[in-house]
Symmetry: C2
Subunit: 290 residues, 2 copies
């Protein structure tokens, strides 16, 4: 999608890849489907397990349903209702846990033991990263001369896949990871050159609260040009601009990659900026700023 008023606001030509309109409501179906359909018949018979703040869980549930397999999803108790409903609607079994990474991983480990299923990690998995990269692949097939591509960064799966696909197709493209300032581990890790621990602050971008893994950090260091931070206020403003001008619903995490361009933090003459709107699973009861 494009929008002339947003181009004017940004002082650039913006192209939006609307993963909020994707099956399952986010890009996550790309990686989940690639992982699920990579399993052997024997593995498929035992099902898949994951832990997710929501979008990956829903996507894995849908991918498993498409292959006729079982899926178990560990979700934090504070996950948005809309994401919980989606996982349920796709027929997965949900185990709730405390909203910490340690609690999620422990619950998933227990499920793996009891089911014999395969873990499909939300981002620390080459099959998932390869799947996520297809968004950038399609984007550059459609708009081959993008100067910049912006994707959100959390665990780094989408950004890793984006960077691999984009730099392979167009080595001169600038790849920017966009991260909430309140969940800035990727930014700090880039600055220090080593994997830094997660932030303890709160961000409304509930899909971007995970931290890089050694695998994704290694890919990002090699292929991503820059990490840009986005404030909570900028996330809300970006959502409102997208609602008003693209008439499209994005969740807070889904607006993060649009924020630097919409706030004129990316400078340059007549730049063609590709922005991945990563998801649209907005809890209708939690539209911010109302």
């Amino acid at each position: 999608m494009i929008s002339y008023p947003l181009d004017e606001l940004a002082g650039a030509l913006l192209y939006f890849k609307c993963e909020n309109l994707q099956l399952s409501g986010s890009f996550k179906i790309r990686g989940a489907a690639n992982a699920v359909f990579s399993l052997s018949e024997a593995e498929a018979a035992r099902g898949v397990v994951t832990h997710s703040s929501g979008n990956h869980g829903a996507a894995l549930a849908l991918a498993a349903q498409m292959r006729g397999m079982r899926a178990w999803v560990v979700m934090p108790r504070n996950a948005p209702q809309v994401k919980i409903r989606a996982v349920e609607a796709y027929g997965a079994d949900i185990s709730f846990c405390e909203p910490t990474l340690a609690a999620r991983e422990a619950a998933a480990a227990e499920l793996l033991r009891s089911t014999g299923g395969t873990l499909v990690h939300p981002y620390d998995d080459d099959r998932v990263i390869a799947g996520q990269g297809t968004a950038a692949l399609e984007f550059l097939e459609e708009i081959p001369d993008l100067d910049i591509i912006c994707a959100p960064v959390s665990g780094g799966g989408l950004l890793s896949g984006t960077a691999i696909a984009a730099k392979s197709l167009r080595p001169e493209i600038v790849v920017i990871g966009c991260e909430p300032a309140n969940a800035d581990d990727a930014s700090r890790s880039f600055a220090s050159g080593q994997l830094e621990p997660g932030s303890e602050k709160f961000t409304i971008a509930d899909g971007l609260r995970a931290n890089l893994s050694p695998r994704t950090f290694a890919i990002l260091r090699e292929r991503v040009d820059r990490i840009m931070l986005v404030t909570e206020q900028e996330i809300v403003e970006s959502m409102r601009l997208i609602t008003e001008h693209l008439r499209s619903t994005v969740e807070p995490s889904g607006a993060v990659a649009a924020s630097p361009a919409l706030h004129r933090q990316i400078e340059g003459d007549e730049l063609r900026i590709g922005i991945i709107l990563s998801g649209g699973n907005l809890d209708p009861d939690k539209i911010p700023g109302q």
Copy 2:
């Protein structure tokens, strides 16, 4: 657009014509462009005038800008800010008036006298009605076997054009006009067989506060099968369902045609229902239900 969860909710196959994604943010550009590009050079040189709660004004302003003409738009003082901004952005001159049909018409008459321009009425105009009908034309080209087509009704321009186009292409199609219960003049006029005065109640569907004209009433009586009423609560619920499942932003008026199907008020086995989501110019400060 389609959505499996919404199909399940409705017990039917729903197809959405997303006029909220149309140029100017609503179907109104269809009629406005048809009218503006029908003018002679001499008429075009004097410009166009209209009165509008917003979407027609913005559309006419854009159509005039596309032809390089002037446009004057009379708007009620209580028009949504987002619609006022849009008319301004397309370069039209705005005259504000009291929010009554009489005040609008008087202000427009004065502008016509002073400018020598041409009135492009929001709906009481054959060129406008013909343009609005192209939404149904495209819809049936894409989904030729629709059983039912639902469009909102206010002044009746869109519904007239929809009925003419749809019944011409597919005589057996059922055409349903959807109207806020709080602005039910079309429903009452259908029941009594004569043009009834407008309601004095308030509806959040700010684009549906106009009344039928003798011209549109005559077309509707001949070609529309049924008028269905929609409560304020149903409008808000429909907006939320569209936001959640289509990830698409509609204004209150834009959700009205979806409401009967989403609330299971249209019965029948495996019906294919086409729904015109008429506009997306939602004031981000006025998202209801928050």
